[in-house]
């Protein structure tokens, strides 16, 4: 055990993994009510830190969504029931934003997952200077989102951008063109590119962590059986990675659904509102228009949408777990 880095205990091979986690807790069975008290004590700081900050504002935002609050001041505002929700749901701009957000979420999450899977394989592969490669791959994740947005805006600048310079000089395009300003759909795709460039590395590392727990022996056995690397990937790697994939999907979907910073920096929601996402629209409603109730109801609709997505993933996960070996 003297070898650095401190190795994590060998993972239990899936074949012998206990059916229920409770069995791994012999302590747990011995203990009684004292554990509950200790648990409460240990969890109290975390609860304070999180709920002390979140609970009151979240509750207040929910209440606000049922009133018509149009200024930041305390005071009496008319109770309007669900009107904010019905009104906002009837607003075309919301549905446009939902479209953009859905597209952004689906495409960026899917790309990050597919590329991340490949990248994770590569990170695990026996290449020379692997430490260097891993260090390179982690870079985009560490780059602050605001800087990432500013960087891509500069690269894609219509007048001076290096993307234009490169493509024009390689004769891949006739002349300088606009990437972020002319065609809303193209601009949205460019935001996706910037997001995928940054977040694929996070996905890859999350998946790599899972990849490392798959016992080598399984691959050896597959090879003896005559399975090639592609077959091994689909028969062993993918099924065993399903929980990790589900986890990454949930994390990335939630993040992508809440996307704000990168849009704020790269396009400001334009052109022709073509990159306005739900959160960006919420921000405009709440702050720029001072329709706090409308913004709050939008935020809660977002929460509901995210919850539904999470439930969907959980269900898919359960199903696929039944199918895995």
């Amino acid at each position: 055990m003297s070898a650095a880095p401190p190795a994590r205990p060998a993972p239990t091979p899936p074949a012998t993994r206990p059916a229920r986690p409770a069995r791994r807790r012999p302590f747990a069975r011995r203990a009684g009510g004292g554990q509950t008290r200790l648990a409460l004590l240990l969890l109290l700081p975390a609860a304070l830190v999180v709920f002390g900050v979140v609970l009151y504002p979240a509750g207040r935002a929910l209440v606000i969504s049922f009133y018509d609050v149009d200024s930041p001041f305390p005071g009496r505002y008319p109770f309007v029931g669900l009107r904010n929700y019905t009104e906002i749901l009837a607003d075309d701009r919301l549905w446009a934003a939902v479209g953009h957000t859905t597209y952004f979420t689906l495409v960026s999450t899917a790309l990050e997952l597919v590329l991340g899977l490949g990248l994770a394989q590569l990170l695990a592969a026996p290449i020379r200077l692997r430490w260097l490669f891993r260090a390179i791959v982690i870079l985009p994740w560490a780059l602050p989102t605001i800087v990432n947005g500013a960087m891509w805006r500069w690269i894609l600048n219509a007048q001076y951008g290096v993307a234009n310079a490169l493509l024009t000089q390689l004769h891949l395009q006739g002349d300088y063109r606009s990437w972020l300003g002319n065609d809303p759909f193209l601009a949205l795709n460019m935001v996706v590119v910037a997001d995928v460039w940054k977040n694929t590395s996070l996905v890859a590392f999350f998946l790599l962590a899972g990849l490392q727990t798959i016992p080598r022996g399984l691959y050896e056995a597959a090879r003896v059986d005559g399975a090639g690397p592609i077959r091994a990937f689909f028969r062993i790697t993918l099924p065993l990675l399903v929980p990790n994939i589900a986890l990454v999907l949930v994390l990335r979907t939630i993040e992508a659904f809440k996307v704000f910073d990168i849009v704020y920096v790269m396009t400001g929601g334009g052109p022709a509102s073509g990159t306005q996402t739900i959160t960006f629209f919420t921000y405009l409603q709440a702050f720029s228009a001072q329709r706090f109730s409308s913004g709050a109801s939008l935020a809660y609709l977002t929460v509901v949408a995210i919850l539904l997505l999470a439930l969907l993933y959980l269900r898919l996960l359960r199903q696929s777990e039944l199918m895995s070996p």
Binding site: V63, V69, G75, G270, A289, L314
Partner: protein
């Protein structure tokens, strides 16, 4: 998480959501806020006129951060009992910061844009200072400046930064093309000049504008609406008027300059700074921009065309030649506990003496300053033009929900400029969405 996930039934998650929701409801006892601080003290006379005040400024254009700190230092020397703490945010964050800070009364003095008095006044985020507003200011300040902080005949602040969009041109390019700058006094003349410049291959795209989906787009549009004799609202202010007449012609004009490639296509993703950059790099011959571009484009450090910058009043259309009112004012926030001191501070830094001293950064709001030789000598080319232009300004609609209307308008203007809708349809759609926001 899968361990937790896989054993988690949907019911449990729903249950949890319900429990959390109920908890949240309990946590929230009132709607707007806890205590009733802030809104009551709207008389503009809170505080004893001494002590500390906080002021919120912006980081772009107009007076620089250094200017403001210097003014503040001079103020404190004169009023040692008042201590001023200035803060600076980007213009893009200014509105939201004022809104978020209002209930907590973080700032005593806030800088507001000309489009906000209706909103901030009607929501009582800033104080009505009409009663403190000296009668002589109303006669001594330029009309355009006075309108900056006014809404429905009440004053919600003191004008401080007076600005409009001037017409800039590259004298070198014009003389090479043989275009007489005097012909640029009308938009028709500008188009002809642009065609000549383009035909003689002096510049690919003679015109550059700030038509990104932002307030800058509405500013350019407003100036053209004025030129074509259009109106944003009907005279009674109860209905939308920009989708007919001059409002429509203005947009059609914009679209035409794009279609004929006289306008740089990158205009639709440019802000004022991009306009300055492209103009200063000699990649455009003509542009509308705020006063600051004159100094910046003449600064050899950041410009390739220094010494070749011409400035004029905005070209006229069939109707007239008003400049968009792009001024800003200083207001006392309604929650301030030291409104007296705040007023003293505002009165000082908006005074003619202080404004004259820093005229190089931003032209004064006072009529008499323009005859002051020291002011005139700071920007000899601009001041005579400014004197003329500032007498003829057009305002964007003064309505409490201006921001929302502007957002809708920005999006629809871009729809037309990007060929996604015919101009008429785009403006009709904008009018339809904005209709309910006027009430």
């Amino acid at each position: 998480m899968s361990e937790n996930m896989s054993e988690l039934s949907r019911r449990r998650l729903l249950q949890l959501t319900a429990v959390t929701g109920a908890g949240l409801l309990l946590a929230a006892c009132d709607v707007g806020g806890g205590s009733d601080t802030g809104t009551g003290a709207d008389s503009g006379a809170a505080g004893n006129g001494e002590g500390q005040i906080k002021a919120l400024f912006m980081k772009q254009a107009g007076y620089s951060e250094d200017d403001i700190r210097a003014m503040t230092d001079e103020f404190q020397k004169k009023y040692p009992k008042i201590k001023v703490e200035p803060s600076f945010v980007a213009y893009e964050a200014l509105h939201d910061k004022i809104v978020a800070a209002a209930p907590a009364s973080t700032f005593d003095v806030v800088l507001i844009d000309v489009i906000w008095p209706a909103e901030f006044g009607s929501k009582r985020i800033v104080t009505d200072v009409t009663d403190q507003f000296p009668a002589e200011w109303k006669s001594d300040m330029l009309g355009g400046a006075l309108a900056t902080a006014a809404y429905r005949d009440r004053y919600y602040g003191v004008p401080w930064i007076l600005d409009t969009k001037y017409f800039f041109y590259n004298t070198d390019m014009l003389s090479r093309a043989g275009v007489d700058p005097a012909s640029l006094s009308t938009w028709d003349g500008v188009l002809t000049a642009a065609q000549t410049l383009k035909a003689k291959k002096i510049v690919d795209h003679p015109l550059i504008w700030s038509w990104k989906q932002a307030e800058a787009l509405v500013c350019d549009y407003t100036q053209l609406v004025g030129a074509f004799g259009g109106k944003f609202l009907s005279d009674d202010g109860k209905s939308i008027a920009f989708n007919t007449g001059g409002g429509l012609q203005a947009l059609e004009f914009m679209k035409r300059t794009l279609d004929t490639k006289l306008t740089n296509p990158n205009s639709v993703e440019s802000l004022e700074e991009d306009v300055r950059k492209i103009f200063s790099d000699g990649q455009a011959a003509m542009a509308l921009n705020w006063t600051y571009m004159f100094n910046a484009a003449n600064d050899p450090q950041q410009s390739k065309i220094s010494g070749k910058v011409g400035v004029a009043t905005t070209p006229s259309g069939p109707a007239s030649a008003p400049g968009v009112n792009g001024s800003m004012a200083l207001s006392v926030s309604s929650g301030s506990r030291n409104q007296k001191a705040a007023w003293t501070y505002i009165s000082y830094i908006t005074s003619a003496g202080v404004q004259d001293k820093y005229a190089k950064s931003s032209l004064p709001c006072w009529t008499k300053s323009y005859d002051d030789p020291t002011v005139a000598s700071t920007l000899p080319q601009v001041v005579p033009v400014a004197k003329k232009q500032l007498a003829n300004l057009i305002a964007r609609p003064q309505v409490p929900r201006y921001n929302e209307i502007s957002q809708i308008l920005q999006a629809e203007l871009q729809n037309a400029l990007l060929n996604r809708k015919p101009p008429k349809k785009a403006l009709d759609d904008a009018a339809e969405q904005a209709r309910t926001l006027l009430a």
